[in-house]
């Protein structure tokens, strides 16, 4: 039973279609992340859930109520903004209790609610300050406090961590996850950061061009991308995409790489029989190209290639090489000793290759 239901939602400004027939059913307590490049419509979708923007067509339901035409204040949602949107003229306490005051709550009850929330977020000592006197991280907490105090049906987060520095961002990410585990409130969270999406979400909706490209668990999205866009958007460095030729053989499917190398795919998580002969796009993630082949080498294809560039990053070593026209990226272990200019053996993990239709980009 869906708690937050987005049905056939479309939105256009003048002649541009920003959202195109969006359908998402979110269960109570679920943490859904909307991710995509800038301009993909994810923030607009969040705004339509909040009621800050009207939909052109479609319907939005929260807890069984049709709220499509309800004003934001009456949707029983709370939102954390990228800029935090703290009222500059009010103290932290007033910022947190403003919504309660607007709903006519007594001063005593407001104070109590504020005390509870600021306890949880460890901002009790900041209540008398103005937002201008707070650090970025503190403002972020106050913004969360303002949302929490309402105890809403749904939390909406609009890139809440993107204004924080790298270390704080990781800490806050963990805290948000803990908070969700504790409160169990439904969350819709917008980000352009795929790591945030992967770590936080129960389900991820990858958006591009106003369309949901794929809606699924982080595992689905990463390991079974529905199309080329999702495949190359999620993962860093992104998946290597090659033009290959397929041919059905008795032993399996023969794959011809851009440089002319061939290997045969016999055993895979893909239904090999269904693949047709001809040109397709093949995707393989950098970590599926290895320096050392494990014992059973039938699952690996070996390539002899010259290394162009080596980029050590500490935990990993990224190795860049050419395969025909395509620049390939491989992720080796951090202690790898390969040098640029060396010719080495690359081992492709054949169990982890993906094929996509060259025309539609859809997964085969």
């Amino acid at each position: 039973m869906s708690f937050l239901k987005i049905a056939n939602v479309s939105k256009s400004f003048a002649s541009t279609q920003v959202l195109n027939d969006i359908n998402i059913d979110i269960a109570e307590g679920e943490f859904v992340v909307l991710v995509g490049p800038s301009g993909c419509g994810k923030s607009t979708l969040l705004n339509t859930i909040a009621g800050l923007e009207n939909v052109t067509a479609g319907q939005i339901e929260i807890a069984g109520q049709d709220v499509t035409h309800t004003v934001p204040a009456d949707r029983d949602i709370a939102m954390v903004f990228q800029s935090y949107a703290l009222y500059p003229n009010m103290t932290v306490e007033k910022n947190i209790t403003f919504a309660l005051e607007m709903r006519g709550m007594s001063a005593e009850a407001q104070r109590k609610a504020c005390a509870e929330v600021s306890e949880v977020l460890q901002i009790s000592h900041l209540l008398k300050r103005k937002p201008g006197q707070l650090s970025g991280g503190q403002r972020q907490r106050v913004a969360m406090g303002r949302a929490l105090v309402r105890n809403p049906q749904v939390f909406l987060f609009d890139e809440p961590l993107s204004n924080l520095d790298a270390k704080l961002r990781v800490d806050m990410r963990t805290e948000i996850k803990q908070l969700h585990a504790k409160l169990g409130t439904t969350i819709v969270y917008v980000t352009h950061d795929q790591i945030e999406a992967m770590t936080l979400a129960n389900r991820i909706a990858v958006m591009n061009g106003g369309i949901i490209q794929q809606l699924g668990t982080p595992d689905d999205i990463y390991n079974r991308p529905a199309n080329l866009f999702v495949a190359s958007f999620m993962g860093s460095p992104s998946m290597n995409i090659l033009d290959v030729t397929l041919a059905q053989k008795k032993t399996g499917v023969e794959v011809t790489l851009p440089n002319g190398d061939k290997f045969t795919l016999a055993d895979s998580n893909i239904d090999l029989k269904s693949l047709k002969d001809g040109q397709v796009k093949m995707g393989i993630r950098p970590e599926s190209i290895m320096e050392k082949a494990p014992a059973s080498s039938k699952d690996f294809a070996t390539l002899n290639q010259l290394i162009d560039v080596v980029e050590p990053s500490g935990s990993d070593t990224f190795v860049i090489f050419q395969l025909g026209e395509t620049t390939m990226n491989a992720r080796f272990a951090g202690d790898s000793t390969v040098k640029s200019g060396e010719k080495i053996k690359f081992h492709l993990d054949l169990r982890r290759v993906h094929f996509f239709d060259p025309e539609t980009g859809d997964r085969l």
Binding site: D66, H69, T70, V71, D74
Partner: protein, 298 residues
């Protein structure tokens, strides 16, 4: 039932802003655009002392441009406008550049340059009227210093009086133009200037090749402001010379007023007002259009 209530609340919130704005819009449409149309109509009527609605076409305009009085007014405007705008810009830019050289007393000098802008043109006119008056003002002062032959009676001279209007007007507004340029100078990215310095630009080259080209938008703004002030100039002339000696310092604005209210030639007065409006619109409308569009791209 619940839904309908919520719906109406939502519509109310959407209509409310328009309701708040609409009185202003109605008033401005009536009192500005309605009045412009009304005056436009009068300019094509045979109104004299009182408005009349008998249509006479462009007769008033042809009469207007045949009047010697009007020719004096627009010639004066051309002379006054050119000198006023030109001198204000040159003086404003020069003073701004001078003040931008780490001047010790900048905090004192800047307000002195700018305070005339806070005064009424009537006050400015009064001060300059007597200061330039040959009987008691500048001429007498210099003579008492020992230069017996010194003569300065422009304000009484038909050919020179318009330059007195220029002097007083420049006195009042040049400080403001200076402030505009100074703000522009202060807004220039320091790194650009450092780069130019490293590239070997001399101070003179720095200004002519880099700084002044960067200030181009300010020249435009200053021009628009000064031009529209020149065309609207009325109070200063009234207080300083009252259009005289004779009609030597009449401007379109004083012309309009006297034809409409004292000479009972309302039709001609209205047509002169329309000409003034069209002149200003030709300058302001493209400027506003560009300014408002620019922000659209943000």
């Amino acid at each position: 039932m619940v839904n309908r209530q919520i719906f109406s609340k939502s519509t109310w919130q959407q209509v409310l802003p328009k309701i708040v704005l609409s009185p202003s819009l109605i008033v401005v449409f009536a009192f500005v655009y309605g009045f412009i149309i009304y005056t436009g109509y009068l300019s094509a009527s045979d109104s004299r002392m009182m408005p009349s609605y008998d249509w006479v076409g462009f007769v008033n305009y042809s009469k207007l441009f045949a009047l010697r009085h009007w020719k004096i007014a627009i010639t004066n405007l051309a002379v006054f406008g050119t000198l006023y705008i030109g001198i204000c810009m040159i003086l404003g830019l020069t003073l701004a550049i001078f003040l931008d050289q780490k001047i010790r007393f900048e905090g004192v000098i800047r307000p002195i340059f700018l305070y005339p802008m806070a005064l009424s043109f009537i006050v400015t006119g009064t001060a300059w009227k007597w200061f330039l008056d040959p009987g008691i003002g500048l001429e007498t002062i210099v003579q008492t210093w020992g230069f017996e032959g010194f003569s300065f009676r422009w304000i009484k001279d038909r050919d020179m009086a318009i330059y007195c209007v220029v002097i007083a007007a420049v006195w009042q507004t040049s400080g403001f133009v200076m402030a505009m340029f100074l703000a522009g100078l202060r807004g220039i990215d320091d790194e650009i200037l450092k780069a130019a310095r490293i590239d070997g630009a001399t101070p003179f080259k720095l200004y002519t090749k880099i700084v002044i080209p960067i200030l181009k938008p300010i020249f435009l703004s200053a021009f628009v402001v000064l031009a529209h002030m020149a065309i609207k100039s009325y109070d200063l002339v009234v207080a300083l010379t009252n259009g005289g000696p004779g009609r030597a310092t009449e401007l379109p604005a004083t012309f309009m007023y006297s034809y409409t209210f004292t000479r009972n030639q309302m039709g001609i007065g209205a047509s002169s007002a329309i000409i003034m409006l069209m002149t200003i619109a030709a300058i302001i409308v493209p400027y506003l259009y560009a300014e408002l569009r620019e922000r659209k791209s943000d």
